[in-house]
Subunit: 263 residues, 6 copies
């Protein structure tokens, strides 16, 4: 525990969601589903059993104060050299996490994989709504340090903002690959909103959107990330109540394995 | 619409829930399910078609300001002579509704049907959490004007409070019946947390608790309420995502029919 | 097969249903579920293994001609002395079945267990809609030869008709028991719309209605039927697509066992 | 409403289906699911908010007379210049719709996206069964004015007919693209049987068939249709009871958005 | 941990089941569901927080050697004075548990609550099949020390055996109550096959059987057990894959709470 | 029956599974689902109606003796010239089947399509666990006569073994195609663990693993197999309890159709 190089932290909160609720149940669903998969990745030829990993469990969060609580807990972890693997929770949890990490790693880059632009300034009267996440992150790390990939849903205005700041990288051409190479010496945080995947594969998310990335595309991205300085990641927006049969949780656990092996 | 005697108002919010989420989907689920039942009640020998009912649809609510919004909307309705039928939403919606009605009807009595005491002063840092509803209601209308029935879950401390204030009426003996007779000249609001029913019948609620009342006991209560001055009611805590098959919504629609016929 | 005393016939049709569809899948669902129960009934102290039963499978039915096809098939069976056990299908299948049997057994009595009056003359432009079943049966066997039990839903007009013809027997007092005694020398056909049961127990039916009979009440009825001249029965309106987990099919199979032992 | 350029019409009927029932529930399921997606399409760079759209709700249909009723209603709409967006219902609803439109637009072309040939002359004794749809359409508009795409299931005889009349276009090569260019000056109606999509993505259809088109292929088709004279379309065969979690309804709503933007 | 007075042990095995599988998932399902209920029982006016309870987690079991492994683990626990609460698992797990306890408590009485007689000598070639549990228990503790309650399914032969040995107590009359009084000075182990409850309430069990006991009857039994020397109990046959919505796990957790308070 | 050229045999057993159980329900699920698809394959331009096929039903299997029973039954079938189509059941059923066939066809080749290496020598104390299947097969037919395709999960050690024996063929390049050509004169048995497909398409399997083959890749393989001497195949690990909506069973039935047409 003391000498762990990776800390897993569950952030079980669904405070600002609308419609399909239950992202607060995701951290435990991912852990339980990981029993169905191996610790070894044939794609990376690496094994989680060779890593020192401490699962710190879930942080108890309450709807009225969750941002401060996450910030405090991550700040505590940031004092060590551990890399962090976050299991959300709704996407808004990325905001306080990245706030802390951006103070620790001054030249932090953030890559958000998401079906949605999430660039609204406010939604449902809240600036911390899960529809505002990428905007908040951009304000924290600077627009030039944020990139989005897998985006395919938003308002016309959001897409105009994204274009203005050159935020969106195309996952199908070499855009994303080039960018990863370019920033390989920077500390990198990857926020994976699981709705970036096609809902055919990942049906159990809060807000599904057709036309998403395939698992093969994710595996290609993993290869591209091998040389990066990945210092943390989160998996968010898995929604167990709509994950009939539980396969989305299994895929999320597989994504978590690859990402942890890249840390 | 203008001359309606009953207004149906949907309050689609699940702001403070934990665990099984989705009470915000309940108002429309109840409306859709009502297609499967008749408008006539053989128990009361009354027909909804003979009542003037306006369904005002759902009030758009946002997690950060819902209490004020509900209060404003109900205050608007309270200016007419219409009786109101509320389809929640989580139980906390009863608080602003009863606040407004208690100002209109000075000697208002409130009967809460609920599996849970809901007498905590605060839960998850919030005084408006659905675990605090009955306490907030008691503070609004006065402890002597609130009664609970169907209660079978709470902390030891909550049960002590309930006993101290003589809050809980026994639905199996004549306690509830006598009380209804006793207050029959007072305006009465009934808040129906659907988890008061046994989860065998009403499986799709946010927090199920075995040992609940049967539909027959509810029908008996309806007979007892025939002479009452019922001025409004709410149905809360139906949770469509866990209502496999949709039967709980049908039962909720049946409960709504009886209650509206009693208005 | 030749010397069977009971013929099981599946009538897989859902032609006139609205809303929750799938009663056509019920016959096979009941057969499959019967694997989970024993052939021996401790209530009747009788065993299906001591009866000669031929399962004739399902009759292929098409929505445009099903009434004639059922009639033809049942007429064929009616030439033998076999008693018949019908697994529906929607409730309308009872109409052609009873038509044939009423010609064979001139003094036939019919008992319909159903949550709904089903006394409409026409529904959705059809006189064979499942909302008209009891009316059609009454026209076939004569109003004086039909009784309903378990009824708790209908229009005000339907209930008036039912009262006029003294159709409804109360299952809670001795009304039903007395009637069964009274007609014990007549051939009797029992049509069991499974929605007569409480939806807490029997959730997977096309049109659920709270306040239904318990399994214990059904078992009491079985005791009362022991001296009757039961010559056939049907089980209708099981709706497998809304029978999450499949328990309603198991209960239906249990009901089928008791009824077959009474034949 | 008066000056709407697009009319949405729901046709909630599942009259001839067999097996997995419930296409009658689809129109409302699509509407409800559309809450989860944006009105703006980044693929077409167009926004539904800039179109004048009137949702006319659902037409009440009864199993015995639905063809005539649909025909009458569409005939009424056809008197305006509005384009129409139909939410079925089973596929047979296309027959009366196209009948009316072929009388209004004399040189109408019809493109059917469907996993199944649907070229039977009769099925279950009915010429209006959903297995006969493409044949009926061909008889209405003429075999030379009908093309099918996405087809991968049928009898050997049906495939021979399709070949004889050169009905099937290959969606993977340039066949479909060329055809759309070729007929771009003709009024065009597109009938989308949602089972044309791969069941991995669109699991909630009445009759799933593996090997279907991807969402990317649908988006490519949309680009090809931009220059067409699209005058109407329908979405049929969504089957909510087997749409666990509700994702197929969300994808159907996304398909509806793109198609409406192309009108 | 050292001074715990109650040990919870999970036995996640479904080795001999047929049909509805998944009892091996029950121990964790019960633990997770316990989050939805309070620790205080208003029925017993006792609180789990005032007891010293150690949850020892699940024992890893493999299908080929599970009987010996359970026996070894329970033997280890039996050396302390802790009482034990077992979360199964299929019913067969009771056999090795009771074997060990009967060696520790020489005059041990066993009460099995079960819908099924489970008195077969062998089933599917195995003497440890879950259909043989009560017979094996009787052989271990002696037929005179075993009683069954809630039984309503079995073969004719099994019921004859049960009668011969006077095994079955009637839960509806005073039979069970008298017996509990009579043996109140003996150490008592209660094995709760959750299918003893009515499937209306407890739908998620491996083999449902209508006509089961109500929650109220269970609560009455708990009152009767207050004076007993209860030294352990098990809860078996919860089957999470058929527990749609998860209510059966919540009821099982409620049953566990009452039983633990009685230890 | 006597002159059938293909025998379908159901092996309904889930004896060694862990986690998601229910593969024993698969044979009937596949049969029922086959009603939703045609008998004609447009890919192969062949029709099952032109083949003589005998469905021998399911073999009753018990957990303690299933290996011997399968072996005996297959041995009986092997005396005829019939080719066999096996519907499992868990994957371990392939072991006794291939044992018998390898004695009949001395130069038998085996191709296993599977997401998992299944090369463990023992798992959960059993050498017949479904995690050991490919190893057992290799021991029966010789390592040089076994190939795996679609593999993407295993321990590091298993992948080393696979490499050492050159077991894994790449389904994406020409590796598999070349091999099939190379062995086209040998009798060939194909074991299809349905988890070889991507869980997006085939969600209802015991152990899902993302990154699987598409239906298009399967169809390509079928084309390559047209010239082979296929003498039998099995479909295993379909898990109906997690097959929400039942689509995986439909896809399995489609796979079965193509494979039977190749026999």
């Amino acid at each position: 525990m003391e000498d762990a190089e990776i800390a897993i932290i569950g952030l079980p909160i669904d405070a600002t969601g609308t419609g399909r609720r239950g992202a607060d149940l995701a951290p435990d669903a991912i852990r339980i589903a990981s029993d169905l998969i191996e610790t070894y990745s044939p794609y990376l030829d690496l094994d989680l059993e060779q890593r020192k990993i401490a699962d710190l469990g879930n942080i108890q969060l309450i709807p009225t104060n969750w941002i401060n609580e996450i910030e405090a807990k991550i700040r505590e972890q940031a004092q060590s050299n551990r890399k962090i693997a976050i299991f959300g929770g709704e996407h808004s949890i990325s905001i306080p996490v990245i706030k802390v990490l951006s103070q620790k790693y001054l030249d932090l880059k953030v890559l958000v994989l998401d079906a949605h632009t999430d660039l609204r300034d406010e939604y449902n009267d809240s600036r911390y709504n899960h529809a505002c996440v990428s905007r908040r992150i951009a304000e924290i790390v600077g627009w030039q340090n944020l990139k989005l990939a897998g985006v395919r849903s938003g308002t016309g205005e959001e897409f105009k903002s994204a274009q203005k700041f050159n935020l969106i990288l195309n996952i199908n051409n070499s855009g994303l690959k080039k960018y990863i190479l370019e920033i390989k010496d920077h500390p990198l945080y990857v926020s994976v909103d699981l709705d970036v995947f096609d809902p055919g594969l990942m049906s159990g998310v809060s807000v599904p959107e057709p036309g998403g990335i395939s698992y093969q595309q994710f595996l290609t991205l993993c290869q591209e990330l091998r040389e990066s300085r990945l210092i943390g990641f989160d998996l968010v927006e898995l929604c167990p109540p709509v994950d009939s049969g539980g396969n989305s949780a299994v895929v999320a656990a597989s994504v978590a394995r690859e990402m942890m092996l890249l840390l």
